[in-house]
């Protein structure tokens, strides 16, 4: 449902799987929901030249990021019949194998979550001012570029 309050999407460090479990549990009482879709971004050990990514350090224009996510959320509620929608993103250092991005969409039936999820994830990647710095195992770095 629509909500005027602007939520904070940021979590310091990697997103613990227990938080995802807790978030699923929180929907138990929402008995109109029949389908959930959860998208997770995990830090990948990309090999660039002969160096391996060991972590990504995220920074953001936090206030603007939260406002833009609020607008994206409203747009999804207008466009798709979804019941519930949550967005979380890491700030600071997240090591390889940890979760840095968590998007959760719930609806009565599966078609709505399958349609809204890619739209939502692509909007966030394109419009939210978050910046990733890929830190190699030798402590050098390069700035992440989204495909």
């Amino acid at each position: 449902m629509k909500n005027k309050k602007i939520k904070n999407i940021f979590i310091e460090g990697g997103i613990p799987p227990e938080k995802i479990a807790q978030s699923i549990s929180n929907h138990k009482s929402k008995t109109g929901i029949g389908a959930h879709d959860i998208f997770l971004g995990q830090v990948r050990a990309d090999k660039i030249g002969n160096k391996m990514v060991g972590a990504i350090e995220f920074s953001a224009q936090e206030e603007m990021a939260n406002e833009v996510c609020h607008e994206i959320r409203e747009a999804v509620f207008d466009k798709f019949p979804v019941n519930c929608l949550h967005i979380y993103h890491s700030l600071g250092k997240v090591v390889v194998g940890e979760i840095c991005f968590f998007v959760f969409v719930s609806s009565g039936h599966r078609d709505e979550v399958f349609e809204s999820m890619p739209f939502l994830v692509n909007e966030i990647k394109a419009k939210v001012p978050i910046f990733g710095k890929e830190i190699f195992e030798d402590e050098t770095h390069q700035w992440k570029i989204n495909k």
Partner: protein, 77 residues
């Protein structure tokens, strides 16, 4: 008017500081872009976005004195 440029991501590294106050003649987003590019080769050689009051500004969008966020391409997710 006076603007406080707030750099983000790789631009902090490129300019060697998180922010700086500059005085500009521009009154729109597009003319500010041109003014910055004329001022410093690092702007000409970088892809950057401008934002004020938490909104991306482009073209004829009016500038107001105060903070301007200068963003490299976003890379969240």
């Amino acid at each position: 008017m006076d603007l406080k440029l707030r750099y983000h991501g790789r631009l902090i590294e490129l300019f060697g500081k998180p922010e700086e106050i500059i005085s500009v003649r521009s009154e729109t987003a597009d003319s500010l872009r041109k003014e910055l590019e004329a001022m410093d080769v690092r702007f000409r050689e970088s892809v950057f976005l401008l934002a004020q009051h938490h909104k991306i500004i482009t073209r004829d969008d009016t500038l107001t004195a105060g903070d301007v966020d200068v963003f490299p391409p976003f890379s969240g997710g």
